[in-house]
Symmetry: C2
Subunit: 424 residues, 2 copies
Amino acid sequence: MSMINAYAPDDDEKLSTETRDLIARRARVLGPSYRLFYNHPVHVVRAEGVWLYGPGGEAYLDVYNNVAVTGHCHPHVVAAIAKQAAILNTHTRYLNEAVVAFAERLVSKLPDDISQVMFACTGSEANDLALRVARAHTGGMGVIVTETAYHGVTHAIAELSPSLGKGVPIGAHVRTVPAPRSTGDVGNEFAVGVKAALTDLRSAGIKPVALLVDTAFSSDGLFVEPKGFLREAVAAVREAGAIFIADEVQAGYGRLGEAFFGFERHGLVPDLVTMGKPMGAGHPLAAVAGKPGVLETFGRTSRYFNTFGGNPVSCAAGMAVLDVIEQQDLMGNALRVGGAMRAAITDIGSGVVKEVRGAGLFIGVELVDADCAARVVNGLRERRVLISATGPNANVLKVRPPLVFGMEHAEIFLDALRAELALL
Amino acid sequence: MSMINAYAPDDDEKLSTETRDLIARRARVLGPSYRLFYNHPVHVVRAEGVWLYGPGGEAYLDVYNNVAVTGHCHPHVVAAIAKQAAILNTHTRYLNEAVVAFAERLVSKLPDDISQVMFACTGSEANDLALRVARAHTGGMGVIVTETAYHGVTHAIAELSPSLGKGVPIGAHVRTVPAPRSTGDVGNEFAVGVKAALTDLRSAGIKPVALLVDTAFSSDGLFVEPKGFLREAVAAVREAGAIFIADEVQAGYGRLGEAFFGFERHGLVPDLVTMGKPMGAGHPLAAVAGKPGVLETFGRTSRYFNTFGGNPVSCAAGMAVLDVIEQQDLMGNALRVGGAMRAAITDIGSGVVKEVRGAGLFIGVELVDADCAARVVNGLRERRVLISATGPNANVLKVRPPLVFGMEHAEIFLDALRAELALL
């Protein structure tokens, strides 16, 4: 099965004996579903800030990992995990202040109407739970996602994730819509697709449940402008009795600079919000937040318990990540550094760059084709600068560093990018 | 929706103002799907070994929590997490020794044929992934579970978990079979049920995929004897072209004393094995292990990536837990202390005790009815001894302490149990 920027086991000419041995052991014991990044895989042994380090001490600039939102191994986050792990790490069926206090803090980051939260361990679990809640609330089955959506790997969510490829068919109750474009009447065109999907669901006798989108459309190639373009589609969905679920696993947590969550840039209040990756800066932590009226039916018909979700250590990690985002003004940093990077990439004026998109420290650089993108991604890796690619045609460079990425790091990235683009 | 041993919000006469306030804040922000244990909820602030501590320093004996398999906050596990969190916490698309070494160690605990492993963060995710693998391997949809099974909370796995209650209907492609009994020809009777389910699936045009059982039948009321009783049912399942998935989330990791996994007591090699709760002693860690031939189709048609699954910190936690189980001989302890406890409970000779079942430190005490069980569970809680109840009739005391539970702790539990049973 294809994956953008996946290592293929015969690309091994550049590998050391040690690396080849580790790859062979890994393939033997992890099995055939695992993938590595890059033609020349990256072996890491430690990390700090925006740097990953190989076994020989070689430093890789991390321009890709959103999970390490605070920078890798941020001392405040590490200390919070270490401290709480030594005190208490149990579940939510005993009373404990940690889960309540963290839930209250998370809710304070959300619009007033979204006042309740449920914890899980991964973005997949959060989206799966949101789907269960949405189906209980609406009594239907039909879900609308974009053509190259990725929402996770559980059975029910893989069916909503066409980016997993043809080997994982979308569900019979799922309709896909074209992703937003970057020109024209974006909002109206996206809404036309969503309205057609609603009509199609109803004509098949399937009650619409939800429009579920990543509010940065990351796997579709990154589409965040113009602000507000989601509103017409969401209005149509609500008119049809369905709800709007904002998947903030990638867009949320300050990455877009101006707003903590991607949906805010559209002037929308979702019915459910899912979040994950950066929440614990690597510690497994995810959540579904929602309006009480939307959560009510699920609460009446089903109890919810996630053994590790919302445990005190996860909540301590979550609190520490929010501390760092707020105290180090990482949103302001994302806005400043991301803006300067987009302008600088545009200024390169390369003939292979079709468009530079994004907001804050989430940047998509659309190249003319997938071959160019693969050459840039692998060329940057040889320069020890780590990015990846995305989009239905695998031709969009995905630039998504930790939010502590400074102008000094941007300069290193830009120099390497200029050099790689000049080779094309 | 009903749950065994759930706090109902009007049972508040015993609660302090502080506890009532925390419950109110919790209900406001976590919403209606969350449950607390006990008529009089337990508020915990720290834990160590087999003890949980309340805000006033009051000590509760933990005779329930299997997750804290090494005892709460075991220093070796805490140190491993703290150390690795400060060094590297990234994902499996870079090469790293930690995930390979942990996978190799886990596989060394399994039969030779089961040589590959995939990591997730929760038992729900592990069972969900096993189901995807099984469906890819067999090309079918039909799954057989027991009548009061619990396998997790994802959309697909909740459909296989009748213990969640009538509010969460089982799937159209799911057949339930009676749980094993504790007398008669257990193996043959269980196989008769499974064969009937296979016939029923085929007559409905549904290709059988798997028999999925918790090898201790925990939510069915705990049935572990006689060893080997699963073999006839598993043979029938394989003859029908389906596979056997052993859910070891509760039974595995040494709890049953004689064997690291529950399936070993039956002289069986499963096609897939799922595990979770105790793996990281509270750190979110779960896995699916399997035969390469069973994983092959899924590997060819679908990539698998779990952002946090198998990250270096999870693997460090997992390694440390295995260290403690091996170095402190927790399986030997489970065998000795569990055996003595079962004998002592039998010796109480209470008229309300119908049967004492179990293996190692997993003990089920079947009482005459649910009311008796609820009175004992809540009575023990007032004596600061924590257990719960299980089974289709909620009448089986569930005794499942951390595996560092010693004879001195068993004596405290037994004294409290004798006193509560004498009140009935």
